[in-house]
Every structure is written in C-alpha cells, then in structure tokens.
Symmetry: D2
Subunit: 381 residues, 4 copies
C-alpha cells in the first residue's frame, strides 16, 4: 500500500474528493498526510474529513510537508497537488526538489517558462510527475490507443478533439457582477480562461488517444459574457507530428452541453470515434465495413483496455473511476520503479504531457493575440 | 463513522468490491469485521485485501460474527450480506435476531416463505434491513420519484420496465457444457434464473421510480440455451396498485444489450423515461409540449435529486456511485435512528421491497408454470 | 406504365396523398380514374387536385368505377382503397369480383368474417390484393428479412415489436368532448381503437421483418381518456409459428413518441434491431461480436435491400418512399403476372397478411374481454 | 400548374430524379420540356423516362430550349439545370438572357467572376434564380430561422456548421487508379474538390439556418488519397456579419459518416442544434433550462415550419421532401410574382446565396494556398 499527502483539496473542495476517490479506489494508496488550507481551523477540519489519524502529519504548508516527509522512514510515496493554478509551479518544484513524486491537477503551471523548468527539474531529480487529465482514463480510450498502435486504422490523416461545457454561460449573470470568483482572475488562474480550463483537456485527449503531439496551432477565440477578461470559446486548427491535421474546440458557453469531450480520428484504413456522453463505447469504422460499437469490458476488447475496467460490461464507470485509472497507472509505475522494473504499456499523462498542455495554451493565446497566425509549440513566448 | 462487517464477498468476488465501494464512498462507513469464506486461508487473504486490522474481528462464520459483534461495546452498525442466494435467509435471520441491521444483496431470499419470515422478524426485532438494488440509486431516478409525487405527470396509466442483458447467451457454449457454474444450479440460485436475476431489478426499478407496487402478474418465459434448467427471458404483464397496468421484461439473452435497465411511465399529464445506457438523463414530456432532457446535477433538478449527485453536471457517475447512494440513504437512516429522529424523504429498497421482489419472482414462476394465468403477489405458493 | 383508380382519398385527405406519392414515385403508375367522395362537388375538386384529365373516368361511386373500368380496353390495372375502415370490405369485394387488383389501406376489413371472405374471393378470382402497411417498406427491413432467411442470426427465439404514438392523448381534450370524430366511432372504425390502428402495424412489422406469423395471443389493454369507447394502449404476449415467443406493444398515448415503430429479434446466433426513429439503420449483433450499424444504401447491403433504396447512403428516405416501396413491389408483381413470369424475392403485405392483421386484432380483443387468456388466431370469434 | 424544362439530368442521372421528385412533389409543377443529353439517343430515352409527351419540346441543347421556349405562348415557367458544374455558367446565363427563371444545381458556377456576372445579369433582367441546396429544406431548419429571427436565442455568438461524408475514401482504390471519373477532374468540377462539393453545403446551411453571411475565412485542407488533385477535407474558421465567429467543416473521408450535415448555434439566451442524422428534430436549449427536443409537424412548431411538413409528426421526410420544400418556396415565389404580390416569409437559396457559395469556396482555396491566412469573401481572386 502506497501512502500520499494532499496539498489543497480542503473540505468543500470538489476536486479534493475526486483525487481522494481516484487515488484510493483500488485500495493501493492511502492518504496519511496533508496541508489542506492556510487557515489552521479549516486545515484541521479537512484532516478530520479525510480521517488523517496522525496529527503530526497535518502540516501548516507544503514546504513543511516536503521537509518533514522527505526525511521520515515511512515517508509518503507521492504528493497530490490540488491547489489553485498559480501555485502549482512552486509546490511541484518543492516536491521534486525533495524527491517526492507528484500527481498535479491540471494545468501543470500557468506559464511555459514554469512548466519547462519543472520538466528540467523532474528529469534532473529523477522524480515522476503525473498530471491528472481525468477524462483520458476511460478504458475505451486505451482501447483506441492500442488499436491505433496496432495499425488498425492505418496512418492518421485528421483528428477532431473537443471539450465543450456550458458552466460559464449558465453561471454568469447577464449583467456584470460586482465581484468575480478567483477562477476568472488572470492573476490566479492565468491569462487564458477557456483554453486553459478545457482546451488543454481536448488537447490531452488527442494525445492520449492517438499518441501524437501537437506541433503548431492557429487559434480563434470568443469572449462572452464580454465583461470577463478571458476567452470562453476557442477553436484551434493544428498540425500534429507526422503530418496529420487537427481541429480542437473548447467552449464554456456551449449551452446544452454540460460536459462533452469527444474525439474523432480518421485514418487511412478506418476511423475511431468517442464521445464523453457515452463514455463506455468506442465507435470503430473499418474502411468499407459497417461501424462497430465496441463496449468497455467485453471479451473482444484488448487486455490492456479490460485491465482498466472494474465492472461488468454495460455497467457504467464514471469520472471517479476514470480518475482512478490515471492513479492506477501512476501507482503501478511508482511500484514498478521501487521494484526496479519497467511496467508494460503503462500510460498516463506525464510531466511532458503537462508541459505540452501549457505550451499548447500559450501558443493558442499568442495566435489569437497576433491575428490568428500559425504559432509553434516550440516558440518561446 | 459507522462500522460494518461483510459476510461473503471474498477476494475475487466482484460483488464484494461493489458493496465495499458503495458503503465507503462517502467516508461515512468502514469495514471492521468480516467472514468472507468458509476456507480459512481465503478468509484471511480476503481480510488482508480489505485491510481489516483487528484479527479478532475476522470470523469463521456468520454465526460467530453475530454472536461476538452483538456483545461488543464497539459493535458493528450493520452487516453486508454478499453470499450466494440460498444462504441469504439464514444469515439475515441470524443478524436480525442479534439486533444487527443488514444490507442484503438481492434477492432477499429464494422463497416467499423465507422472505415473509424475515419481514416478520425484522418488524418484531425493530431491525432495519435494506436490499441492494443498485440501479435504483441513480440521481435521476429520485428526480422522477419527486416529480411523480408532486403530480407533475398526473395519475399513472401505464408503465414499461425492463432489465435486459446478454451475459448468459454470450457466455454459454452452444453445446451443453459438462458442468455449469453454481449460478445455474436451482438448489443454490433458486428455481428462477432470469426473473430472479434481472426481472426483480426491473420490478424494483418500477417501484422505486413510481412509488407503486405490483399486485398481480401474467408471465411468459423462454429458455435458451435449452440445456439450462431455468428461464433466460421473461415477459410479464402486470397490474399495479391503484389500477395502472405494466409490462416488465427481463432477459439474459438480449444480444447487443450488455446491461440495459430502463423505464417509461405514462401519466395523464405527461411521461417520464429513463434508460440505463444514459444513466444521468431523464426524458420528461409534459402533455402538449416538447420533450425535455433533464440532466443530473443541473440547478433545475430537485434538491432531493441533487443531494445524490457527487460530481458536476455532465460528469458521469456509474454503478459504484449508484450503489453508494443506496448506502448513503441506508446509513443516513441508521444515523437518524440512533439520534432519535426521522430522516426526510429518504428512499432505499427496504425489506418490504426485498420481500416484494421475492413474491414477484414466485408469482411469475407460478404464472408461467400454470399456463400464463394471472397470479396475485399475495397468493401463497 | 400501369394505371390505377383511387377510391376515397379526396382532397384534404392525408392518406390519399400518401398513396398517390407512393404509387407514382417511380414513374411506373399513373392515376387515371377515381371516385373520391360521395359529394359530387368534392369529388370533382378532388379529381382536379389529382389532375384527372378524362372526365368520364371520374365516377360517382366505386360500383360504377368497377363496372365501367372492368370493360374498358384501357382498364385500370389496380384500384387504391383509401376510404374509412368499415367500407373496405364491400369495396375490395366489388373490385375482386370485377377482376381488378387492389391496394387496400389497412385494415383489410373490420371483422374476421369479412377478411376471410375476401381471402377466399381473391383466391377464387385470382386477383392480387395488397394491404399498405407502409412502415414495412424501409430498405433495412428487407435487409433484415434477407439476413434472417440466410440464417445469419440462427433460429429465432424471441421478438419484440412495437408501434407507439401519442396522437390520441395529445389531441383529446381532458374533459369529454361533445362530439368525437368518426375515427373513434366503433361503428365506422371497428371495435378496436389502438390495436386496429397501430397494433396491427407492429404485428405486420414482425411478419415482414422475420417471415414468421403470429399463432396465438394474450392481450392486455388500457383505455385513456376513459370517455373513449375503445382501448388506447395494448400489450400482447404472443406465440409465433415455429415456437418463438413475442411481445407486441401498441400505444396511442405514449407521450414523447410521435411515431415509433420498432423491432428487436433475438436469434440463436445473433440479434437484429430496428427503430423507426432511425429508419435507415439496422443494428446487427453477431453472437460474441460488437454490434454493427448497417446503413441503407451502403455497398455491403444485400442487393435486395439496395434495390429498394433511391438515394445515396446517408440521405434519408421517409414515409413516402417507404410507401413507394410497397407499391414498387406490388407493381412489379402485377407486371410480372401480365408478362407471365414469377418475380424474384418480391415481398409486400398480401391479402393473407391483411387477413392475419384482422385476425390478430380480433384475437387481441377477445383475449382482453375474456380475462387475458390465450386466444388462437384461428379461432372463430 | 407551372411547367418547366430540364437541362441535363438524363436517364441514369441520380440528381435528375431528385430534381424531378422535388419539383413535382406538390403537384404544382410539371416537366414539359427537356434537353437531357448531347447524345440524341440518350436524349430521347430520357424524354421517354420522364414521360415528355410533346416531341417538339425535346431539344438538342439548352440554347435551342431557351430560344424556342421563350417565344411560346405556353412557355416554361422555369428551367432546371442539372449538368456538370463547369457548364452551369453558360446555361444559367442563357436562360436569364431569355427571361427564363432557373433552379440551378449547386454550385452556381466554378469561378467568382462567373457567379458575379450571373448575379448582375439576373438583377438586370429581373429573372429569379434559385440554387438547390437541398439539405436546407428540412422543416426544422425553418423553425430555427423563425426562432432566431424572433430573438429566442438572443444575439448569435458562435456557430459550428458541418457537412461530412465518406464517399471519396470509401469509393477510391488504395492505389492510384488508371483513370478518375470526371467529378475529380478540376477542369470540369472546378479547382476545389471537398469544399465545393460539401463545404458550400455547410456554409449555406449556416446561412439559411441563421440568416447570417460569412465575411472572411481561414481554411486548412487535407488531401487523401494523395493521388487526387483536390482537397478532401476542409476545416474553416470564419467571421460572420455582425461579429459572430464560426467553424465550418467539410469532409469526404469521414468514415462512418455517410452524410452528416449539422449545425450548432450559440446565442446569448440559448442554443439550437440540428443534425442531419435526425432530420426531423431540433434541439433547443434556453439558457438555464433543460434542452427541449422540437419535432417537425408538432402543434407547438411555428406556422412557417409546419407549412413545410407534409406528414404527421414522427413520420419521416427525407431528401426528396427537403428538395421538395426548396421547390415549394421557389414555385410560390414565381406564382406570387406572376400575380403581382410579394409572398410572406418565403425562404430559399437565391442567386445571392449561390454566388456567396462560390465566393466562399474561392476564399477557402485562396486561404489554404497562401498559408492559412484570413481571406475576405469580397476579395477578387
């Protein structure tokens, strides 16, 4: 059983619960430490909520956690970072420097400079860092990856990836509000609103599904309600490594779509399609044949996909279980490392992916600002 | 935090995991005792798997658990029964007699006589018994119940409830196998195959969704593969209390349908429809108006339904979370009892529902045997 | 080019238009005669509406049409009967006796006695009679029939066929109306409301899709609004020839379902499913494999199905075109007859099917009246 | 009854049939003249196929038709142009100059210069020219237009319009074929393959649905199979008049999608969505409320939409009927003109729309060629 400490994610925090459920779903990890809030009282209440038994391991802040945990015999195996975006950099940096593996909520950081420094540090210190792009954990997404790697749809020609929601337009008043929550404050959340919130999910869905990375982008953004400082709808044209093209769409104002990531991949020999509305199914069209509906957990699925399924076919798994799969792979990787071997076909969003996500957002913002021109993810801002 | 002991559900048991996840999902209950298997070694391994810390509370059998737990200061608050069907009666009886509340896997028992004895005993001993019909735990099913109770679809005219799967036909060889698993053995699983396995889920879905009970049935069954001793497809005509009619369909051979419970309710002022394929949505058609798609977690949902939603709208919850809601209600009921008050609008399948399920199956079997005649659920077999 | 005369279907008649479009869709038949109404003025206006050029062939009544047409050199090749239900018998009888082929709107007649007399007469006079069950004309229904005949789903075990609408509940006032339209008058429309209107469509969908006939039924009916004299919701258990079972559901009060025939067939080697909401697609699940979505007009479809498709794959065909296929087959059959050969795999609802439909409705009504007992379609009422 | 002459669309021509069915569906127009092919024999056979009775009105070529028809007492009311793309210009020009109204198959022309000359000529000669973008004829598209004009979704923020098919990838050999059909020859079909074939359908769907026009575009194209000379997949970013943004996607290689136009419009007060897979339904989400499914032909639909519905709600209408609606509006417009009044809310794709379609394709091609830069539809090529 691995142990972990949580930073942020205090009582009442939606994402803290999601991380805890994901991490502990398989009975392979247990929270033993935490610093949930800078407010002492809330910190204690949160520790109680999470049933932390050892008072000594309830820390005032992340630095204290890193320092004290890193020298304990029974030190935590990893830290979970569930704080607001602008603090990710310093926290992850501190954990890496203390040799503690990290599961960081997305985005990894709010600037490319920060993200790339973390990449360098993680490599230097040989510390594993994962970024929790939860939607990529569904078993049929692994199925698609396996099929693409096995050449079942031939070479990829074009990809459509989306992540559209409607929470901003549904929760914003029509008139300008007196005060906006911090999620809308560029100082805390970063310059980008929709692209950083959802566009990066779509981009990572593309990466984890196909195994391909984005090389350059043209981005067009919309801002509504207009009193917000950031964009709420982003459409991206992209070039992928190897020459395929892509369209990526993210929206926070797509009324009627509470949460609908999705992806459609056209290859030379067939196509694959997944929609989050129907998370257990993968639509596979071999060229010249009828579309097949592949269902998670069925015997005809690849072993790799079935490994990520907990319930019988037709019984749904949801957001918690998808998160659980990101953790399952990360934990297996940590275990394998500690046992000195390399795990087989283990896939989860790594620090490379997290940094790519930040580079993607920055490139999109630059393209929008500069008249919707091509911007490479390798360009320095 | 309540505590519980598990009976059955040993390592490798699919349903044991489901119960554990359901019970512990909200951090309000913890397994502290168990007797998972009659094989000492498997019992111990299972205890380890579930992280039972106190060796003394790993029991040889359910009688020992009942006797020893019932006299402990820190006695368990409830027992979870996850054993094969034919043992439910004796175990639940024993728990009731020792004053221990029970969450019993469905079916409650394999004969009406047994089920009704348990009903009488539970009442006599004032012990709460729940039956884990997991599919009824989805938040939109509570939404439907609220709307029906509020009169939004008027008086109910007709109901269609189904639970169809294909696991039997997909897993059975075309030729008669040398030996069948115990699930197909009438001595262990009971006389009925499909009706007891899935028909009772459809019947309880109807009950929990509408609040109405089944009064009498005509049942027609099919048996395929023909070497099985029990039916694998059941169609039921039913009369409900208050005069509405219903059709209930259960199947284990509905190829292409891995697990598709569903319900459609026609009232005098509107209709409601739910399909397990799309577990977060409820289709509501007010008379004379367009159909509306109600989504779990949206602000327009009733407080009672939103209370059962853990994630934001559009983020899926699956079988574990639905099970978690059955436990959430059961645990809240136990807590309320211990605090001496009555909880508000708490709904879960009770021992009455469990006994109804058994009566439903028995009536269906009798109707089929006797030429598809009407059989009342009140008839003694 | 064949010619035909229409009886009924005058201006403002919805079904007259549907028949005309169906008959003339392929440019192989042309209306040249008609008696559309007993009201001379409306009769003339209707003739104008349908562009009848020859005044002599606008008849006062069907008898006149039969007498005069049957002795013309250029006599009509067939008559279309689009009058209220209770007149079908006398009109079809008259046409048969004058040797004129008939396309009769469903139902063929309103009593079994009438239907069976027509069957006998048609055989005696060697006159072809078709009954326009329009929904059975979709190309994917022929695809299913071909696949079943080729053994692709093995032997049929169980069938579910439905035809549910909501037009009665949506158009009826909540309070009893002063006067009801003739469609609700049992003297004109027959005793049965929903079963004759829609149940027979579901039954014929089953017959044309599978090639199997219904042998006996148990029927349960509901009546709502209660001031109507006939049933508005019917659920039927059925035994089919060869031993398979079936469930047939028809409704006029299924709010949210404007018109949703559908069928699901379970065979020993696979299953087939069709829903009218998605009329161009057939869902095929071979045992042990993923469900395939077969689309009308695709190259992988059988020649027999593709023959019934007019547009490219993905381009919808609707009710007119489905009707057009019933006519296409009927016309080809008439042409083949006149050329002295037998056409290949030509399928349309014949007088046998029409009489079966009437027998089905009568058996359902009897079963409902007599306490939901089994009634054979061969029983005399 | 109006009369028309057809140019092209000879026997075996798929689109000729579609035009004839569309034009004659409502019994308001009849083909009386035609020049179907330059091959005399095929011309005559086609005339027979279409039942042209008057031999004198079977013409050798379109010039002859224009000259002779324009001086007849009973001259045709309009001409239907169903020839290959590169001949549209000269034929439409000739008809306009002879004062004959035109229904031209899309695209109006293969260059902007041609299209704009036709626009000028049509205005100068006061001749009505329609362009048959058939998919825009579905009744729910008119419903959407009515709702948008009535302000029901507020001001439009963003639009997604698509038209994706898979016919090219499904019909092309993997290896380069010896000879390609004329549809792939840029001299006959124009420079653009996919954008002209399908992109312009998506663009016109956007225009007819929202009432807004495209002002400028960035376009990215893919070419597969690579031996083709034109693009087979096009993604477009667009600015619309009034400031909304749009994404338009057209594909000929979207395997699994035989023909799936679709549109999603986000307004400040609600959203509207339509998918061709489900052509009779419109999804309407008012801000803060559940999505409603609006169905063609229901009583709650606008009078304007119901006017375009021929069958009862739930009964499908397909491609023929959608085409029939384009013709219905065009014919009503011609009739109104001849009667000297202006018809109410009559909408069909006019010569302005046809020329916009050509400008859209040209701008997309230029943007792709020049590195995916913004190109205005007003720019001269």
């Amino acid at each position: 059983m691995l142990t972990y400490g949580m930073i942020g994610g205090g009582i009442g925090s939606y994402i803290g619960d999601v991380h805890m459920h994901g991490a502990e779903m398989d009975g392979k990890a247990k929270m033993v430490a935490g610093c949930f809030s800078r407010h002492a009282e809330k910190n204690e209440e949160s520790a109680k909520y999470y049933h932390l038994e050892d008072k000594e391991r309830i820390y005032q802040n992340y630095q204290e956690m890193a320092e004290k945990e890193s020298v304990r015999e029974d030190r935590i195996d990893f830290a979970v970072v569930a704080t607001p975006n602008n603090s990710h950099f310093e926290i992850v940096k501190c954990m890496i420097e203390h040799g503690i593996a990290v599961m960081c909520d997305k985005p990894l950081a709010i600037s490319v400079q920060e993200a790339e420094e973390l990449e360098r540090l993680a490599e230097k210190h040989h510390v594993k860092v994962a970024v929790s792009y939860g939607y990529t954990g569904y078993p049929v997404i692994r199925q698609a990856r396996c099929m693409i790697e096995a050449g079942e749809i031939g070479s990829i020609i074009h990809v459509r990836a989306t992540h559209v929601e409607d929470w901003v337009i549904e929760s914003m008043p029509d008139e300008k509000p007196d005060r906006l929550p911090w999620r809308y404050d560029p100082k805390i959340a970063g310059d980008s609103l929709c692209t950083a919130d959802l566009g990066t999910h779509a981009e990572q869905l593309l990466v984890q599904f196909t195994g391909l990375h984005v090389e350059k982008v043209i981005s067009m953004t919309d801002r509504y309600p207009t009193y917000l400082s950031g964009e709420t709808n982003t459409t991206v044209l992209a070039q992928l490594e190897g020459g395929a093209s892509a369209m990526i769409w993210a929206s926070q104002i797509a009324m009627g779509h509470a949460c609908t990531p999705g992806i459609f991949v056209i290859g030379s020999k067939g196509a694959l399609e997944w929609r989050h509305e129907d998370p257990d199914r993968l639509f596979y069209t071999p060229k010249g044949e009828p579309t097949r509906i592949l269902e998670a957990g069925r015997e005809y699925m690849t072993a790799d996909s079935r490994r990520l399924t907990r319930v019988s076919a037709g019984h749904h798994e949801g957001f918690y279980e998808a998160f659980g799969n990101i953790y399952r792979e990360f934990i297996a990787d940590l275990e394998a490392e500690s046992e000195g071997h390399t795990p087989e076909h283990m896939i989860y969003p790594t620090i490379r992916d997290g940094a790519d996500g930040v580079r993607f957002v920055a490139a999109c913002m630059k393209s929008s600002r500069e008249g919707n021109i091509w911007v490479s993810l390798k360009e320095k801002d």
